[in-house]
């Protein structure tokens, strides 16, 4: 059963006097438990596609249905709640909060959840252990290597057991060895049942996924 359904999604931007068509009618169907990589060159519309999937970017037209919910029929605050309950984000530059420790960064999505602090700490600790960082919970981001920061970002994305994990160029800032470790980690999470949608420009990453969607000029090319 499809957990994500995109039908004829179009997204246009107005930049000055120019009309940019980032997505020109995209249809995607993703099954629960799938690992999908979305590839394409710079400007192909892959990042726009991910932000539309993440409930953060209203498409100009078309429909996005996720876990049975028509995403863009929700109000702004309902969308925020949907993101909190169903989505996990891994950003290209990690975007860890510099003044919070690894454990606190992972606990961040739980700050708005009604749970005891002890339960939040336990959930964050478990998430960090799943990404292999159980021993560095009290480190600040600047005390961690790039690969470790990426792992913290992944732990933050999975701490609330989201239906879908969205990742934007997660290996973009990592060396090849660390990239392989991170991709293996995503694969491992996927094998444990996590649906993963990853935007990447690195063809080698496609080997870890079940399916690769190629985007070109705002359209699926293959």
């Amino acid at each position: 059963m499809a957990i994500i359904e995109m039908k004829n999604v179009k997204k246009q931007y107005q930049t000055g006097s120019d009309l940019v068509e980032a997505l020109r009618g995209v249809d995607i169907s993703i099954e629960a438990g799938e690992f999908i990589t979305i590839m394409g060159q710079s400007g192909s519309g892959k990042s726009t596609l991910l932000s539309v999937l993440g409930g953060m970017n209203h498409p100009t037209s078309g429909e996005v249905e996720m876990a049975g919910v028509k995403l863009y029929q929700l109000k702004s605050e309902e969308l925020a709640d949907f993101r909190a309950q169903n989505l996990g984000f891994v950003f290209q530059s990690f975007h860890l909060i510099q003044y919070l420790t690894a454990l606190e960064n992972v606990m961040l999505p739980l700050a708005i959840v009604k749970m005891s602090t002890a339960a939040k700490r336990e959930a964050a600790r478990q998430a960090l252990e799943r990404v292999g960082l159980g021993a560095k919970t009290d480190r600040l981001p600047n005390q961690l290597s790039g690969g470790e920061q990426e792992r913290v970002a992944i732990a933050r994305a999975i701490v609330n057991n989201p239906h879908i994990l969205l990742a934007d160029e997660p290996t973009g800032n990592l060396d090849s060895k660390t990239s392989e470790e991170v991709m293996a980690l995503f694969r491992q999470l996927n094998e444990a049942g996590q649906t993963v949608v990853m935007v990447t420009h690195n063809p080698e990453n496609g080997a870890y996924s079940d399916r690769t969607i190629h985007l070109k000029d705002g359209l699926i090319s293959a």
Partner: protein, 386 residues
């Protein structure tokens, strides 16, 4: 991890910026506290001084007769065509609307008597009330106790050639001179003071008084209102205020107060601007961070709470420090501003809580727009990487 953890940790990280923000608001609050406390302390100082000045309201009989000067104050005719006030009427004075402002009432009966070959003015007073009102009196000897003791002014003592311990004879009765007043430079120097009931008997004016002096303590209370209230109750008497000196001082103080508030408002306005600009800068610096919060599902209200909580914590600190600094400033400035050396600083809980409350209110108000701006940030714009 709760929302306040984010606020507190952010404040800890941005120590320099938050210190700047705190100091900006603190200076404003401290200025207000200093000025308010100074004006209050100075008012208090003047109020106390008014008490020391003695009477500031005079009740005299309506009189068309010869006038007589008492302490530079014009009284009704006291020599021949003399009218009196009923002593019982004085109780009415204690029932006026502003009766809480009455410090003391000193009734007097006046009359000319012969002591030996000399004509002197005998004044019957309530010694307790009189001494409370005329704290500058210095007595050689002791205060008169009982009906058969008198107090002499310094000139009267010289003229009658009597000093403390001596006896004088008035209308066939012997009175012991309990004490002699040090020179006051006033009418008091030539008077003979006696206990009121005895003097009334000696002068044949039982139950009557010639005048009464009222000491009203207040800087804020309207003496003219009190004069009117007394005059309504005693229609046959003339009630007048001796308030020019004090009123002049209070007017100057009032002008200082207005200037203080205007100056305080400007400083507080600048403090609020500092909070606004700093919070706005802080929000803009944290665009990515706020984008992450929004992306992981924080509501707009969550973002606002984080920003406003930061503002509230900083403002609270600024309020407490501002109050402390303001009181310190007032303590240092008071000796230069007050008229007496022993002017006391007024510690007032209203000023303490008011200043902290004002800091909180200003800090939060000035951060409202930055918080709203942050909450409305588009997560995709905030996270340019996406």
């Amino acid at each position: 991890m709760k929302l306040h953890t984010i606020s507190i940790n952010n404040l800890k990280r941005r120590k320099a910026k938050m210190a700047f923000l705190t100091i900006g608001l603190m200076v404003g609050i401290a200025t207000i506290v200093t000025l308010v406390t100074l004006t209050r302390s100075m008012s208090n100082d003047i109020e106390r001084k008014m008490d020391e000045f003695g009477a500031n309201i005079l009740i005299t009989p309506q009189s068309n007769g010869l006038s007589m000067n008492y302490g530079g104050i014009s009284l009704g005719g006291v020599t021949f065509d003399q009218r009196e006030i009923k002593e019982a009427d004085l109780d009415k004075v204690r029932k006026i609307k502003n009766n809480k402002n009455i410090s003391s009432i000193s009734p007097k009966v006046l009359g000319g008597v012969k002591v030996g070959t000399h004509d002197v003015l005998l004044v019957g007073v309530d010694f307790a009330a009189e001494l409370k009102m005329k704290q500058w009196w210095q007595i050689f000897g002791s205060e008169p106790k009982g009906d058969n003791e008198v107090l002499l002014g310094s000139d009267a003592s010289n003229t009658l050639n009597a000093t403390s311990g001596d006896n004088i004879e008035i209308k066939g009765e012997k009175f012991k001179v309990a004490g002699v007043l040090n020179q006051t430079g006033s009418q008091d120097d030539s008077l003979v003071f006696m206990a009121l009931p005895k003097a009334q008997k000696v002068l044949g004016k039982e139950g009557k008084i010639t005048m009464a002096e009222v000491a009203a303590l207040c800087s804020g209370c309207p003496i003219s209102d009190m004069v009117n209230q007394i005059a309504e109750l005693l229609p046959d008497s003339k009630v007048s205020a001796i308030q020019q000196v004090v009123a002049g001082r209070l007017k100057a103080l009032d002008q200082f107060k207005r200037f203080s508030y205007a100056m305080g408002s400007v400083v507080v306005f600048i403090g609020s601007l500092i909070v606004f600009v700093t919070m706005m800068g802080s929000v803009n610096e944290r665009t990515t961070e706020i984008g992450v919060f929004r992306a992981i599902g924080f509501r707009k209200s969550h973002i606002m709470r984080i920003i406003l909580l930061e503002a509230a914590l900083v403002s609270l600190l600024a309020g407490i420090l501002g109050y402390a600094a303001g009181m310190g400033g007032a303590k240092l400035a008071l000796p230069f501003m007050a008229e007496t050396k022993n002017a006391h600083l007024v510690w007032d809980a209203t000023v303490a809580f008011g200043s902290i409350g004002l800091a909180l209110l200003l800090g939060i108000l000035a951060s409202l727009y930055p918080a709203l701006h942050a909450s409305k940030m588009d997560p995709t714009e905030a996270l340019r990487a996406l």
